[in-house]
Symmetry: C3
Subunit: 109 residues, 3 copies
């Protein structure tokens, strides 16, 4: 068995939880912050058999990878502001940091 520790953005957390449930993978969620003080991360702990590690990694990659997203910046109420300031800009969202650790014993009581 392996312990998979995955740190992802909160915004991807529900999608990842649901994907784990569909794949019958038990995951525990810890609320976390940081990585350079970026707040709002979620840390998942997953214990899986060796032959399911790649499945879990695929699910995390699919739901939580870094990607660009177009967002419309909040426009301030300053009347003198150029209207062009409200065009959408691309920002980076998502991203997952994943560690696979060895497990010596696994028990369910």
């Amino acid at each position: 068995m392996k312990m998979i520790i995955a740190i992802i953005q909160d915004k991807d957390s529900n999608v990842l939880s649901n994907a784990f449930i569909e794949a019958n993978i038990r995951a525990t969620k810890l609320s976390s912050t940081g990585g350079f003080l970026r707040s709002g991360n979620t840390t998942f702990l997953v214990g899986v058999d060796d032959d399911r590690v790649d499945d879990v990694l695929s699910i995390i990659k699919k739901t939580s990878h870094a990607r660009g997203q177009f967002m419309t910046p909040q426009v301030s109420m300053d009347a003198s502001m150029d209207a062009s300031a409200s065009y959408p800009v691309e920002v980076q969202v998502g991203g997952a940091t994943v560690f696979v650790l060895p497990i010596e014993q696994f028990h369910q009581f």
Copy 2:
């Protein structure tokens, strides 16, 4: 040394904390959710010498194992409901998922 990670139900958390204190075992509690979206789990991190791993496992098993418990269902305020609906029913409570991981270094500063 080993790192023991134990995920148990919140309802068993105080009993387990107290059992660890009595046995002079230092544990750190992380608040967690899930495993199939069941909320209200607690994750314990315990660092112990190899020769105390079995003690820690026994304490977790004793305080937190899955067991049946009789509960009286909440009766709705629907006057037409059969009174028999309030008989106690057996539900499964507790349960612990436990991982033992190798540790390469341990420090106290």
Copy 3:
């Protein structure tokens, strides 16, 4: 790579976060309690290359080690109390418990 798990007092948490940022080390913070029910601990997860483990340990030791601190006890409003009760006393603060675990795989998606 190694996974470093460090449990420190909340009061040292911001200083340690900032020291990690300055050293370009990514850390994830989990809120935690305990070790003998002492509340207000923070658990840091740090994934680092083998050749930076000692750097991370030095940073944790420097910012979070146990040390004496003089504190003035809260004086009760009991008018009969001896004024000497408000002299500063030395208390132990800080302290870090640190585990270094092996990692078999590391991914960023």
